[in-house]
């Protein structure tokens, strides 16, 4: 099993990691009528905003407390107060979600204390939903920001049900990790509804960042789960958490409301989905709909068709822990070798990845490992494009950000159907790469002159298609 290592470099080159505060802000974007607010200087927000807009090609609500140098010295109370009042008066949100940044964590702003004071000073805000999460940039990563924020939402917004209150047997909470797309959430919603279950997603990015065209211009999120619905999540019969990062929120939910949870660390792959579907059938008391029997068949067939292309591939993958675990495990189960794995932050799933070593590092590390270990498939987010061009190997984009392709919000990887599509996409990249870059020539199998030919990395390289 894998050993997790950290490099000793002073300079991160081509970062894989995105910052923690925008991971937190991202979670708030799955609430209806929400305005995420970063407590920091305005660049903290502007960079994050640009990143989200480029990824989703959607208008994204994200505000800033616009800390100046002076405010940083004097403390940020006034900036937080003004920001909340301005947002409250101008954009009429249903909730404001506040994440701290490196700047305001370094000077030690006590935002929880500020919020109490602001509620006292402004009675109209006494009951208004304000959620604060501490997310310094100099610690942890994007996924951690999401994890902390969702856990915090559960703690603050979910109401403990009254003693003896009845649970709705059909109602199910879903706590999705940040590696799931709006398209994934819609797929999960369909699956759960097909079992007669009524899911509540927290957060629900499918309502807010799935490319809806609203009738009116809205400065806050245009959809997502409402604060009222979040409050009632304690009456559900089950909580389904997806990705190890959601354990914390699921535990918070159980502690507060007694709703039991089941954690699915992965939803890409045949076995994970078998377990998932079996669980749904079990809790709903309904047989598995015919549709999923067929989808399972289609996935099995896709695996049969694709294993010629995926089997034996040397995979170099850089992603946040849960996505890394999900995709690399699926491909490992298809016969690929996880040859280089780089991630952003600690997680209990890392040591279970089917490889020898997982590095907490950057894209330079990934590129270097991919080069020295002759990898021939690269998976990471869009910032891997430079490395892919230099390595000249097929590149499958996964994770956040994905700014140089469109449709990032609808890339599907969950369920039998999502897994099938991922497998087809990756296999097709491999096929295209073989046709474009590895056509056999009369010299391909010349053993004596092999070492003279540039660009040939291994014995199987020229013929990998026909041998695999």
């Amino acid at each position: 099993m894998a050993i997790v290592t950290t490099p000793k470099k002073a300079c991160a080159v081509n970062p894989l990691k995105m910052s923690q505060p925008i991971g937190g802000a991202f979670a708030f974007m799955g609430l209806r009528g929400a305005m995420p607010l970063l407590h920091g200087s305005q660049g903290c927000t502007s960079f994050g905003l640009t990143l989200f807009v480029r990824h989703f090609k959607e208008a994204v609500p994200l505000q800033t407390t616009a800390m100046s140098e002076v405010a940083t010295v004097l403390g940020g109370y006034e900036n937080v107060e003004q920001a909340i009042l301005n947002i409250y008066n101008r954009t009429k949100p249903e909730i404001i979600g506040i994440c701290s940044t490196g700047v305001t964590e370094t000077n030690g702003d006590d935002v929880d204390g500020y919020i109490k004071l602001i509620r006292e000073q402004h009675p109209q805000l006494a009951k208004f939903p304000l959620v604060f999460v501490s997310t310094p940039d100099f610690k942890d990563a994007f996924q951690d920001g999401w994890e902390k924020t969702v856990a915090c939402m559960v703690e603050v917004l979910v109401e403990a049900p009254a003693v003896g209150a009845e649970r709705d047997p059909a109602r199910v909470n879903v706590l999705p990790g940040c590696h799931l797309t709006p398209g994934d959430l819609d797929e999960l919603r369909t699956i759960l509804e097909d079992f007669g279950l009524k899911p509540s997603f927290l957060p629900d990015l499918a309502g807010s960042l799935d490319g809806q065209i609203p009738d009116e211009f809205t400065p806050t999120t245009i959809g997502g789960i409402g604060v009222d619905e979040v409050a009632g999540m304690g009456r559900s019969s089950w909580t389904i958490a997806i990705g190890a990062q959601m354990r914390r929120a699921a535990q918070a939910m159980q502690a507060k409301t007694g709703v039991p949870f089941r954690l699915f660390e992965r939803l890409c792959g045949l076995i994970p989905n078998d377990e998932f579907i079996a669980f749904l059938s079990d809790i709903s008391g309904r047989p598995v709909p015919e549709k999923y029997r067929r989808q399972r068949g289609q996935l099995s067939d896709a695996m049969l068709d694709a294993h010629f292309h995926v089997g034996g591939r040397k995979l170099a993958i850089g992603a946040e822990p849960d996505l890394l675990f999900d995709l690399s495990s699926m491909l490992h189960e298809m016969g690929a070798q996880v040859t280089a794995a780089v991630t952003t932050t600690q997680s209990p799933v890392l040591e279970r990845i089917g490889t020898n070593e997982v590095l907490i590092g950057d894209l330079e590390d990934l590129e270097e490992l991919a080069r020295t270990r002759n990898c021939n498939l690269l998976i990471t987010h869009s910032h891997g494009r430079q490395a892919a061009a230099r390595l000249k190997i097929p590149f499958y984009r996964a994770g956040f950000p994905m700014f140089d392709r469109i449709g990032a919000g609808h890339q599907l990887s969950v369920g039998y159907r999502g897994t099938r599509d991922v497998i087809f996409d990756i296999a097709n990249l491999v096929i295209a790469d073989r046709e474009e870059n590895h056509q056999p020539t009369p010299d391909s199998w010349q053993t004596s002159r092999r070492s003279l030919k540039p660009g040939r990395r291994s014995f199987v390289d020229a013929t990998e298609g026909s041998i695999a």
């Binding site: 300079c11 991160a12 200087s41 502007s46 640009t50 208008a59 505000q63 407390t65 140098e69």
Partner: protein
């Protein structure tokens, strides 16, 4: 006063800036950055501005000293183009962690500089300061100085942490860093009477290369472009240019002015957006070079090129004019572009219904008035909601703006074109203007718009079906109401308990009731006032033999 705040104060007192010159002393002391409003601010920080201004130097390593957010969230996000080197697109950051915050990040910064030199050996390293290390007191000037001396490589501190102000201020602080540490530190291999500097041109989408061939043809050499597709050596030796053009930007004016002051390089403000502006700029370059000693025949050659290029561009735009007749454009951008693009669009026959002047100077506004007439619709500040409404109400046919406001137009199903930095097409010079017109045409006349604006047909169908259903129910209700027997039976007998005649008749018939008391036992007709009416009903009803079973039960 720290040296950074001293620098900022100096920048605010820029005599070359017309806007600044018109201010009172009190206003000037307050500086030119607007107070940022918490919860209502948009736009980048000073670090962002500095990075934008300098990152297009392609052979320089750009190292960001700070936590992951500053570089991790922003690297490789601008569309500047390079003719060779690629190190500028490499994301480099010290990625400060908690330990660095507690013990200071200077050591890590020094090590990072050393690692970069060992790995890439670039001609220079620019080190960008950010908020967190500025707060904890990391002295990047000292680290850069020590590194330069020990490692024998120019290591340039760019002191522009995000919280000191806006993006625009960051542009200026970047200029200060160049003036203080770079410009004039090297000598060019050779000079010619035709050497110029371009200041404030970032070669976005490679647009510089839409103009460069014309300069090449005239024998004019770009000694240094600050900073599009620029090289460290070029900017370091840029003080030997004969003339300079400040392209499309007030942000870098102090660089141009101080280079005039220090090295006697005359400059002018110009733009390559639009046909007229391109010609004017070429003329100005030639004029300044001739004034500085270039042979005067340059002016004739320049005029010849201008005549040829203008004719070509007009001929290419001509076919679009009838197509654009009556089409109205809304322009949301800033500064020089607010008029240089207005001129260009008018050249193509578009009507301008408004242009934003939020970031424009007084002169910019004058130019707009010249071009659009006295009643020009100048938009000081328009909220997205207002823009959306304007487009939705079809007061404009197309919006041209920067990427941030694109969804306001697109979600209103309105054609939109990106004319700011994130765009993927280049619009400079004569070819660029033809390209812009082509793109506007493509956007305006895309058949997709018509489909998108159509009402959803099945919503109509659904509505019709619902109306039909409702009508049917109404008709049934009317039919029921029209039947005389139903009307008779629906007549209320007991008003207290709302019991109708039909119910009573059914009870009497099925149970063979004969007395008022029996009727009251079987129905709800309990009130006192209906006794007489029930007696009447019993009298009218034919006496029927009650079912045996019921009789037994009674």
């Amino acid at each position: 006063m720290s040296s950074l705040s001293a620098t900022i104060q100096k920048i605010f007192n820029e005599p070359g800036c017309a806007k600044n010159a018109n201010k009172s002393d009190a206003e000037r002391n307050r500086g030119c950055t607007k107070q940022l409003q918490p919860g209502g601010a948009a736009g980048g920080c000073a670090f962002d501005g500095a990075k934008i201004a300098l990152q297009p130097f392609t052979d320089v390593a750009h190292l960001v000293h700070g936590p992951i957010a500053c570089e991790g969230n922003s690297w490789d996000n601008r569309g500047a183009a390079s003719s060779g080197a690629s190190i500028w697109r490499t994301g480099l950051t010290t990625d400060m962690n908690e330990t660095d915050i507690v013990f200071g990040g200077e050591k890590r910064l020094y090590k990072a500089i050393k690692e970069i030199i060992n790995k890439y050996n670039p001609p220079a390293i620019f080190v960008y300061q950010t908020c967190v290390p500025a707060m904890i007191g990391d002295d990047i000037n000292a680290v850069c100085k020590a590194a330069s001396q020990k490692l024998g490589k120019p290591v340039i501190p760019v002191n522009s942490p995000g919280f000191v102000g806006s993006k625009n201020l960051g542009n200026k602080l970047a200029g200060e860093a160049l003036l203080e540490h770079v410009i004039g530190t090297q000598e060019p291999d050779y000079t010619t009477p035709y050497d110029i500097n371009l200041i404030g041109e970032y070669n976005l989408s490679g647009e510089l290369w839409q103009v460069k061939p014309l300069l090449d043809e005239l024998g004019i050499r770009i000694l240094s472009c600050i900073s599009g597709d620029g090289k460290y050596r070029e900017v370091a030796s840029s003080h030997r240019a004969r003339a300079a053009m400040m392209v499309c930007s007030k942000a870098m004016i102090s660089v141009a002015r101080k280079m005039e002051e220090r090295y006697g390089i005359p400059f002018f403000e110009g733009s390559f957006y639009g046909i007229q502006d391109s010609s004017d700029s070429l003329r100005q370059i030639a004029r300044l070079l001739v004034e500085r000693g270039a042979p005067s025949e340059l002016i004739e050659r320049t005029e010849a090129v201008i005549a040829r290029e203008e004719a070509g561009a007009w001929a290419a735009i001509e076919p679009y004019k009838p197509r654009f007749a009556g089409k109205r454009a809304l322009l949301i951008t800033g500064g020089v572009k607010s008029w240089s693009v207005v001129a260009a669009l008018q050249e193509a026959g578009l009507e301008l219904v408004g242009t934003s002047v939020k970031k424009s100077t007084k002169q910019d506004k004058e130019r707009i008035k010249e071009l659009m007439g006295q009643d020009a619709h100048m938009i000081e500040d328009m909220t997205p909601r207002e823009i959306y409404k304007m487009l939705k109400d079809a007061k404009a046919d197309i919006m041209l703006s920067g990427g941030k406001s694109q969804f306001v137009a697109l979600k209103a199903a309105m054609p939109w074109l990106d004319i700011n930095q994130e765009r993927c097409h280049a619009y400079m010079g004569y070819v660029g203007m033809v390209k812009l017109v082509e793109e506007i045409d493509k956007a305006l006349f895309n058949p997709m718009w018509e489909q998108l604006r159509r009402p959803v047909p099945w919503e109509e169908v659904a509505k019709n079906r619902q109306t039909k259903g409702m009508a049917q129910m109404d008709a049934q209700a009317a039919e029921v109401a029209a039947d005389p027997e139903t009307t008779r039976r629906a007549k209320k007998v007991c008003f207290c308990k709302e019991v109708d005649l039909g119910t009573l008749e059914d009870a009497i018939r099925s149970h063979g009731l004969t007395s008022v008391e029996a009727v009251r036992q079987h129905t709800d007709a309990f009130g006192g006032c209906c006794k007489r009416r029930i007696e009447d009903i019993l009298a009218k009803m034919p006496v029927s033999s009650p079912p045996a079973m019921l009789q037994a039960a009674e």
